[in-house]
Each structure stands twice: as structure tokens, then as C-alpha cells.
């Protein structure tokens, strides 16, 4: 595709000790982040964690109470959204209902006094880029949800922003479409080499699109890293619980050296990965697929199945044990367990970890 929309303008985003307060409420407590040029970084976290505030601070829709914000090396802390080279894709798409698709996409260009035919030409290129060539004369209301979403993306990228912001862009799409659209967004971002900041509360979505994920909780960063880092090496029980499903079980660390810890759980010793943990109380992170259900005559943690569900490609079990209720996923087998069965639980030590209590 020969396109005049290029990627020369990708900028780095840097926050230096940015604090945001609304009255007495602190929405962000001293945030320091760097978003590298050409990367897609996701802000992930439960609602109210400050991720959307962070995004709006980058956009210039909110102003920092303290600290500095740099985009492409320029200090933009006091610039309003109008004057920042940043565009945003909104959760509701925010397409202007009284303008055609082409007028919508060309809007950002026309307000900058780009001649109309040039703006329209560029808008058509943008539409082509998102696979909507020929839809320019329609009204937004005449498009499906997924198409509207792509118009919103086109409208944002024709401006060749230094940073593209996406605020939960998939939350209004149905589940199947969501996976398709997120792949498209990711491919477009990589093809154009855009710097992008993506906000979502869906951890699966975050893992699927991101170069790097910044998990936020209680107005600050809980952990940041690549999707694999976060899943395989959670730094806290919050991360372990938030990224992927996990059973968190209280345990005691008997000894810890060379990143291996010896853990006592319900009378059995296990050797699991433990960077930086010391002796004492801790939490054992057990992913659902790290648990193996065995017949009760095997050794291991004893329990009773309190819930069993058949989901086609797998079985989901809830098991009552002496360390609490555990959630397990197992492949469907001929002799699956049923509610009320007594089982013995094997733990795959390579998939388990310990984190701070």
C-alpha cells in the first residue's frame, strides 16, 4: 500500500513525578513513566485505578496538578489538547453524527486550515488504511459498531499524531469482533510504527496487543513489564490475581536461595520459583492449570469437588481443600470428576510461584 500517511512523527511520552488531584482526592500519586517511540503500551487496571486519568493527561484533556509531561522531548505540561500532537480514539467513538464519515475523518485536518480537497483526499487514504474505502459518504449511524470503531481510528491517524491514544476502544464491540479488531489495531500500529497508549481493564486484551503493560492500582503503578513478565513473574499477589486467573494460598517459606524457595503447604513440601523472597509467611500463586486432579489414592492435597462445569475444550472445577477453595482447569477426559468426588491435587512446581503475603 502506497500511502502518504507515514510514521515520521512518533514521539516518546515521559511523565516526571506527575500528580493529579481532584479536590481532596488524589487520582495519581507521583507517576513516573516512559513510553518508548513506536511501541504500544497498555495501561491496565481495575476501574478507578487512574489509568484513564493518565491517558487524559497525555491527551491534555486534564491538567497535571504537579510534575511535568513531555511528548517527543517537548514539555507539554501546560499545553491544552488543542495544541498537542496527540489524537485519541474514544470508548464511545465520539463520531460527529451530523457529518459524513469522510467529513469526520477530515475534521482534524480542516480545523487546521488544510484545503478541503486535500483534507478529503487524505481522509480517503485513511479510510482505505482501515479497510473502509468507499464508505466516505455515509453517515456514522449507517455503519456497524466495528466499522464506526475503524472510522474513529482513521480519524485519529490521518493527523499523523506523535502519540495515538486509545481509551477502551473495544468495549462497545461484541466478544468475537473484539478479537478481530484488536488484531487490526495492533497490525496498523506496527505497520505505521506509531507510538500508542492503550487503556483497558481487560487483561486478556492487554496481553494480546501490548509491547509492554503498565498495571495500575490505587492511583499508582503496581508493576510494569512485558505480558510474559507480568504473567510469569508477578511481583505481588495483586498482579498475580489480576493478570490471568490464580489461586492465592497462604503458605510458609522454609528456605529460599538461588531463586528457589521451599514451601510448606498443608504438610507437604514444594520447591517453587521465588525471586527475592525470604523465610516466613507468603502467598503461593497457583495458576488453575498448575493443578492436576488425581484420584484420591494418589499423594497430594486432598479435597472435594464442589462444582464441576463442562466447557467443551476443558473442565472447570472448584475444589474445597483444607487451604481454601481452589479453582482448577483440566482437559476433558473420559473419566472426569463430578460434584462430590474426593480428589487428590497434584501441583506442577514449575508453574507455581511465591509472592509476598
Amino acid at each position: 500500500m502506497n500511502n502518504s500517511i507515514n510514521s515520521n512523527h512518533h514521539g516518546e511520552v515521559r511523565f516526571e513525578n506527575v500528580i493529579k488531584r481532584y479536590g481532596n482526592v488524589t487520582a495519581l500519586k507521583g507517576l513516573d513513566i516512559v513510553i518508548e517511540p513506536g511501541k504500544l503500551v497498555t495501561l491496565l487496571g481495575p476501574s478507578g485505578c487512574g489509568k484513564t486519568t493518565t491517558l487524559r493527561l497525555i491527551a491534555g484533556l486534564e491538567m497535571a496538578s504537579e510534575g511535568n509531561i513531555f511528548i517527543g522531548g517537548e514539555n507539554v505540561t501546560h499545553l491544552t489538547a488543542t495544541y498537542r500532537r496527540v489524537s485519541m480514539v474514544f470508548q464511545s467513538y465520539a463520531l460527529f453524527p451530523h457529518m459524513t464519515v469522510r467529513q469526520n475523518v477530515a475534521y482534524g485536518l480542516t480545523v487546521k486550515s488544510v484545503p478541503k480537497n486535500e483534507a478529503y483526499q487524505k481522509a480517503d487514504e485513511g479510510l482505505e488504511l482501515v479497510g473502509l474505502a468507499g464508505f466516505g459518504d455515509r453517515l456514522p449511524s449507517e455503519l456497524s459498531g466495528g466499522q464506526q470503531q475503524r472510522v474513529a481510528v482513521a480519524r485519529a491517524i490521518v493527523l499523523e499524531p506523535e502519540v495515538l491514544l486509545l481509551d477502551e476502544p473495544l468495549s462497545n464491540l461484541d466478544a468475537k469482533l473484539r478479537r478481530h479488531v484488536r488484531e487490526e489495531i495492533r497490525q496498523l500500529q506496527q505497520r505505521l510504527g506509531l507510538t500508542a497508549v492503550y487503556v483497558t481493564h481487560d487483561q486478556e486484551e492487554a496481553m494480546a496487543v501490548s509491547d509492554r503493560i503498565i498495571v495500575m492500582n490505587n492511583a499508582e503503578i503496581a508493576q510494569e513489564g512485558s505480558p510474559a513478565d507480568l504473567y510469569e513473574r508477578p511481583a505481588s499477589s495483586f498482579i498475580a490475581d489480576f493478570i490471568g486467573d490464580a489461586n492465592l494460598v497462604n503458605c510458609e517459606v522454609l528456605s529460599a536461595e538461588n531463586n528457589k524457595g521451599e514451601v510448606m503447604l498443608a504438610g507437604t513440601k514444594y520447591a517453587v520459583a521465588s525471586d527475592g523472597m525470604t523465610k516466613g509467611d507468603a502467598k503461593l500463586v497457583l495458576r488453575p492449570h498448575a493443578l492436576e486432579l488425581l484420584s484420591p489414592d494418589h499423594a497430594g492435597l486432598k479435597g472435594e469437588v464442589s462444582y464441576a462445569a463442562y466447557l467443551g475444550r476443558e473442565m472447570q472445577y472448584t475444589i474445597d481443600t483444607e487451604v481454601g477453595q481452589l479453582f482448577a482447569i483440566a482437559p476433558v477426559r473420559a473419566n472426569s470428576f463430578a460434584k462430590g468426588d474426593t480428589v487428590s491435587l497434584g501441583i506442577n512446581e514449575n508453574l507455581a510461584r511465591i509472592v509476598k503475603a
Binding site: A59, M63, T80, A81, T82, S87, A94, F96
Partner: protein
């Protein structure tokens, strides 16, 4: 941005040097001031008439222009300009208030000297342009000096609206307060209270059956009863409209719109024609049953009757929104929980409507207490505050001080009601509209309740119909009550046209044209200010926003008579002299009707998703472009409503206008008052009929011009997840 400040400062400086600072005798547009030889511009007043107090204004312009040239750092430049502009504004306003020829004078002892004592004329075009330039230089600099959210369009709009409200609402109301405290030329707190709390105002004699009450008590009783009555009737109408399968709903709807486009005396007149001493109904009963013809209509009951007819539609319009707002799903939930229709209504729907009912009551209360037309026509010996104020100004014994004290009493009542309403509505939220599309059906009314609603509302609707047919009938008969032969005389006298000489010979043409032109000018101004205010309130965050909202709504709570009195007290003297002009009429309409534009704008703008604005802003548009290209195109119906309403109100308003009309600028309603006072009912009614038709035509034209743009809006639809 720098250019904007620069342009305003330059404009200010030019007008300081060239435009006449003070009011010119022959008006600005005659350009007499150019060659009559006497000094006129600010600069010349300083140089030749030694008006040294104008120096700071000129200096402010020169100094801040120099700042634009010599200070390079943008933020520092903006901050210095800001400071200079504030000082310039302050000095200019202060000299205007302190140094005046005659009339009330603030801080009399502050300055002395011969030239100061001689005083100066009112501010003219030069002063106005200088003040506006300073104001905008201030607001644009403000947007650049603070950190963040710096948008010159927003700060300038805020500054402009605050200044306008300060000058045209607060300034005059302050005048009336000061006047009320004035005894023998000096202010006295001790003198005020005995006059304010005198039994002449607050007397309770009627309650113990010994004569009549004071006007304040009369107003209070009347307003409470009208509020309760209109709310009950309005609720009946609303329930019939939404919860029954009543056939003639369209007719009901029209009936409820009619009173809004009815000039204020018309209902009173029609009631006189029906129930007065020689009224049709009175005659009928006298003949059939030998009942005595009495003057019962002239007094409390007549006014109450007329107000119920006038204000029930307002209650209906408030309540229909509330009744429709009760989500069908909660009623369905109640019914699936085995509640019957009555229980559902009593324990679910009614409690949810409670705030709306309180709102309707307080609205009826305020309307009734501020009402002027009905008590004037039907009041008789029953005196209420609004008419007493009028007679204190224009009566045989004119006493502005008494008018001021009465006005303070009236203001106290309406403001208390207003505060009460805000407190009540501020605390509770019963919102049941969620934005999610609600399917389902509202529960029908239970049969007894339905019967009660029909039994109260339908006769009332029939009466309203009769009243309006009387208006048409009355304008075509020779002399109502005596000679019912058909005639066009009234129309010819009022709106005659001599085709042989191409002359408007009717007596009403002058006031008719004045009314139309003033309404035409006032309507778009009202819409602009109202919608701009709504935009600021809904979409912008700024310091002091709540106070801002409160002050813009305040002019709604100030009754028209009070505004009228305060305007003649405030704008009859320097520094601002406007009485007798058409400008004051336009201004009074703009600020009287602004709150409705604000309310309508807020409602419409709240329905536009805020992310539309944000999308526009992040795409690089500034607020002005966003308003022009995104918000306004989506607000067609709200603009239309604001325009229609302010146009119609400007035609039908009487309470404030009657104080401000002059021989040159007479308005339709005050012309009609004159005819009513002379007993020329026929011509008054004919004129009213013409006004009603005029307004209907205007509404239709406006609807055609702006149109209702239909878009399937997707921004509020929640697709299935």
C-alpha cells in the same frame, strides 16, 4: 493569541482618543458630536475639560500596548497585561460610580474639588468600547497566564457574561436595596425595619376577619393556593396524557401551549366577559335562577381563577417530564411483585415523582407571586405586592421609596421560594432515566384515580376552550354584554390601513411594530447568551462555577415588577442612562428570559456525549471551532426553542416593560393595559387576537427556518456487549 490582545488594546486606545466618552445629546449615530466644537473623546476630556479621572483608562491602554512590544516572555507578558487591565477596569468603573452629575452617588466623601462636584454626563460609546476592550484584554491575557485550560474563547465568554449579569441584574437590584434603606436622603438600617415589617405590608387582619391583609400576606396566600392548585391540575393532565388511552391527547397538548402565547390580560378579560357583572354566564344565571349579579370576580377569587388558567400549563409541562421519567421497568417490577395498580402508583410511582411535584409547586408559587397582569385586571380591592409596586411608582402619590420597600418584600418571598427549591432538589436524586433504552409499558391508572383525573382535568380543559372562544367572539362584537352585533370596528380602529394614501391609520400599529422589532432583536441575543451560559455550565470547569450558575438563574427569581422598578432607579442617572430608549427594553427582555435559554441549553447539551467535544479538541480544534462545528449543529431544536420562547416572551411580557416604555417606544402589552384601563375591551381583545396570530406565525416560520434535523444518533446507543 498575542494578536488578539493587541487588537483589543488598539481598539480601546482608538476609542479613547476618537470616540465621545460621554453620552452625546443627539445620540451617537447622528454624528453631531463630530463638529459641535466641544471636547468629547476621553483624551480631549482630559486635556481640555480637566477630567483627570479619565487618565488611568488611557494610561492602561498605552501601558499594556508597550508591554506587548517590550516583554518577550509570553507568560510574563500576559500576567503584566492582566494586572494593568484589571487596574484600568477598576479605575474606569470607579470614576463612573463616584463622579456623576446628579442622582445617587456612591462614596460621596471620597473626592472633592470643583470639577469633581460639577460631575460628568453618563457614559457613552467611547466609555463602553474602552470598558469592553479592557475586559477582553483581561480575559484573553488570563487565558494565557494561568497554567493549563487556557482557552481565550472560554475565559472571554465567562468574563462577558459575568459582567453583563453584574451590570444588568445585580447593579439594578442593588439600587433597589439601597433605595429601600434610604430615609431622607441618607441610608438607615434602623429606619428600614419598621417600614419593612409594617402592618401595611404584612398585616394579618383578614385571617381574623377584621378587614384586609397586607399585600405581602395576600401575595403569599394567593401564591400558595395557586401553586397547590396548578400542581394538582397539572398532575391530572400529565397522568391522563401518559397513563390513559384518552383519545384527544393532541387537543390537550394544544390547550397547554395556548396560554404561553397569550398576552397577559387576555384571560382576565375573557373572565370578565364571562363572569363579570354583565358577563355571559352571570347574565344567564341571573335570568334563569334569579341569582344576584355580584362583583365576586374582582378580588381574590377572580385573580386565583385567572392564575389557575394561566399557570396550569406550566405545571403540566414540568410534570409530564417527571411522569414520563418514571421508568416503566420499576412499575413493571412492582406489578410482578403482586402490587395492584393503586399500590404501584401510591408506593412506587408517586414517591418517584415527588421532587417534580415540589418543583411544579414552587414554579407555580413564583409565577403567581410575580404575576402582574391578572391582579391588575381583576384585583379590585385585593392588593398584591406586584400591583402595589406599580401603583407606588405611577399612582397619584408616587413614592419610589415605598415601591423599593415593597419590591424588597416581593424579592424576599421569591428568593426564599427559589432557595427552598434549590435546597430540596439539590439533596435528592430520584433520576430514573439511565440512558439505557427502556422497553416495557407504564402501568395504567387504577379506575378510581383515572376517574378523578378525568373529572378534574376535562372540565378544566373545556373551560379553557370556552375562555379562548370568548376572546375571538369578543373581538368581533360591538360592545360586549350590551350589543352583540357583528362588527370589524375594533380591528379597523387598531389596525386600519388607508389604501388610498398608503398609510397605517390604526392606533395600534406603532406599538405593534415596536414590539415586533424589539422582540426580533432580543430573541437571538437571548438565545446566544442563554446557550453560551449553558455551554459554560455543562462543558467547562472553572473557579466559581456554582456562584456563576446561581447568579444567572437569579434573574429568573427576580419578579418582573422588581426588575422594572430597579431599572428605572438604576438606569435613569449617570453612569448608565438608558431609560426612554429602546435599548433598555431589549436588555430587559434578554436578562428576563435568559434563564429559560440556559435551562433549555443545559438540557440539550447534557444529551450530547462529552466525548464529542473532547474528540474535537484532541483533533486540534479550539473551543470556538468545537462549538461552531460540532455543538451548534447538533443543538438545532434547543436553539429553536430558545428563540421561540424569548420571542414570545418579549411580546407577551408586561410586568417589567410597563415601567420602561416611553412615548416613542410603546409596547403592545402596555398599549393594551391603557385600553383596558379606559374600558375599551373590544380593541384590547382584538389586539390580543392579532398578537396571538402573530406569535403562531412566527413560531411556524422559525420552525421552518431552522428545521428539525433528524439524525439517527449512535453516540448514545449501547450496542449489545
Amino acid at each position: 493569541m498575542k494578536r488578539t490582545v493587541y487588537a483589543w488594546l488598539l481598539l480601546g486606545l482608538m476609542s479613547f482618543v476618537f470616540l465621545p466618552w460621554h453620552m452625546t445629546r443627539d445620540g451617537f449615530t447622528s454624528f453631531q458630536w463630530l463638529n459641535d466644537g466641544s471636547p468629547s473623546s476621553g483624551l480631549f476630556m482630559v486635556l481640555e475639560a480637566s477630567n483627570w479621572w479619565l487618565i488611568p483608562t488611557g494610561l492602561a491602554f498605552v501601558a499594556s500596548l508597550l508591554v506587548q512590544f517590550f516583554v518577550a516572555a509570553p507568560v510574563a507578558r500576559a500576567k503584566i497585561t492582566l494586572a494593568i487591565a484589571v487596574m484600568g477596569l477598576f479605575a474606569t468603573v470607579l470614576q463612573g460610580l463616584v463622579i456623576v452629575v446628579n442622582g445617587p452617588r456612591a462614596f460621596t466623601g471620597l473626592l472633592s474639588g470643583e470639577i469633581v462636584q460639577a460631575g460628568q454626563q453618563s457614559m457613552g460609546i467611547g466609555a463602553a468600547v474602552c470598558l469592553i476592550s479592557l475586559l477582553f484584554a483581561f480575559s484573553v491575557s488570563l487565558s494565557q497566564s494561568g497554567k493549563g485550560q487556557g482557552d481565550a474563547f472560554v475565559t472571554s465568554t465567562i468574563a462577558l457574561i459575568i459582567s453583563l449579569v453584574a451590570v444588568f441584574v445585580f447593579f439594578p437590584v442593588m439600587h433597589i436595596l439601597i433605595r429601600a434603606f434610604e430615609v431622607d436622603g441618607s441610608l438607615s438600617l434602623i429606619g428600614f425595619f419598621p417600614r419593612f415589617f409594617s402592618s401595611e405590608i404584612w398585616g394579618l387582619n383578614c385571617l381574623i376577619g377584621a378587614g384586609s391583609c397586607g399585600p405581602a400576606i395576600n401575595s403569599l396566600i394567593l401564591a400558595t393556593m395557586t401553586g397547590a392548585g396548578t400542581t394538582a391540575l397539572g398532575l391530572s393532565f400529565a397522568l391522563i396524557f401518559t397513563r390513559t388511552d384518552f383519545k384527544a391527547k393532541k387537543l390537550l397538548r394544544i390547550l397547554t401551549v395556548l396560554p404561553i402565547i397569550t398576552p397577559p390580560f387576555v384571560i382576565g378579560l375573557a373572565l370578565i366577559l364571562l363572569f363579570g357583572r354583565t358577563g355571559a354566564v352571570t347574565e344567564f344565571f341571573a335570568e334563569m335562577f334569579g341569582m344576584e349579579k355580584t362583583r365576586w370576580l374582582y378580588g381574590f377569587w377572580g385573580v386565583y381563577f385567572a392564575q389557575m388558567l394561566s399557570f396550569t400549563p406550566i405545571a403540566f409541562l414540568v410534570l409530564i417530564g417527571v411522569v414520563q421519567g418514571v421508568s416503566p421497568s420499576v412499575e413493571e417490577a412492582s406489578q410482578t411483585l403482586d402490587a395492584d395498580r393503586w399500590q404501584t402508583f401510591r408506593y412506587v410511582s408517586l414517591p418517584l415523582m415527588r421532587p417534580g411535584i415540589a418543583n411544579a409547586f414552587l414554579l407555580g408559587f413564583i409565577e403567581s407571586i410575580a404575576d402582574f397582569g391578572n391582579p391588575l385586571v381583576l384585583g379590585g380591592n385585593f392588593s398584591v405586592l406586584s400591583t402595589d409596586i406599580f401603583f407606588a411608582i405611577v399612582g397619584a402619590v408616587a413614592s419610589p421609596t415605598k415601591a423599593a420597600v415593597l419590591a424588597v418584600a416581593l424579592l424576599t418571598l421569591t428568593l426564599s421560594a427559589f432557595m427552598l427549591q434549590r435546597m430540596w432538589l439539590g439533596k435528592k436524586s430520584y433520576a430514573t432515566i439511565t440512558g439505557k433504552a427502556d422497553s416495557g409499558q407504564n402501568a395504567g391508572l387504577n379506575p378510581v384515580l383515572r376517574f378523578i383525573c378525568y373529572a378534574t382535568a376535562l372540565p378544566w380543559a373545556a373551560l379553557t376552550l370556552v375562555v379562548y372562544s370568548m376572546i375571538i367572539f369578543g373581538s368581533f362584537v360591538k360592545l360586549w354584554g350590551y350589543n352583540h352585533s357583528f362588527t370589524l370596528d375594533h380591528y379597523i380602529r387598531a389596525f386600519g390601513f388607508d389604501f388610498s394614501r398608503w398609510r397605517f391609520t390604526g392606533v395600534a400599529w406603532d406599538s405593534y411594530f415596536t414590539t415586533l422589532s424589539i422582540a426580533t432583536i432580543a430573541a437571538p441575543l437571548t438565545a446566544i447568551i442563554g446557550l453560551a451560559t449553558a455551554y459554560l455550565l455543562v462543558r467547562q470547569k472553572f473557579w466559581g462555577k456554582e456562584a456563576f450558575e446561581f447568579s444567572t438563574m437569579l434573574s429568573f427569581a427576580v419578579p418582573g415588577t422588581v426588575i422594572g422598578v430597579s431599572y428605572i432607579m438604576a438606569f435613569n442617572f449617570a453612569p448608565i442612562e438608558l431609560t426612554g430608549t429602546s435599548i433598555i427594553l431589549i436588555i430587559v427582555f434578554v436578562f428576563r428570559n435568559m434563564p429559560v435559554g440556559v435551562r433549555g441549553g443545559i438540557a440539550a447539551m447534557s444529551q450530547l456525549d462529552k466525548s464529542l467535544d473532547e474528540a474535537s479538541i484532541t483533533l486540534g480544534a479550539n473551543s470556538f471551532t468545537t462549538v461552531r462545528r460540532v455543538i451548534l449543529p447538533l443543538m438545532g431544536p434547543a436553539i429553536m426553542a430558545a428563540l421561540t420562547y424569548s420571542f414570545v416572551r418579549a411580546i407577551t411580557a408586561v410586568s417589567a416593560v410597563i415601567f420602561l416604555v416611553s412615548a416613542r417606544h410603546n409596547m403592545a402589552t402596555s398599549f393594551i393595559v391603557g385600553r383596558v384601563e379606559n374600558g375599551e375591551f373590544g380593541i384590547a381583545i382584538a389586539y390580543s387576537a392579532v398578537l396571538i396570530i402573530t406569535m403562531l406565525t412566527a413560531i411556524l416560520i422559525l420552525q421552518g427556518l431552522i428545521g428539525v434535523r433528524r439524525l439517527r444518533r449512535t453516540d448514545r446507543v449501547q450496542p449489545s456487549a
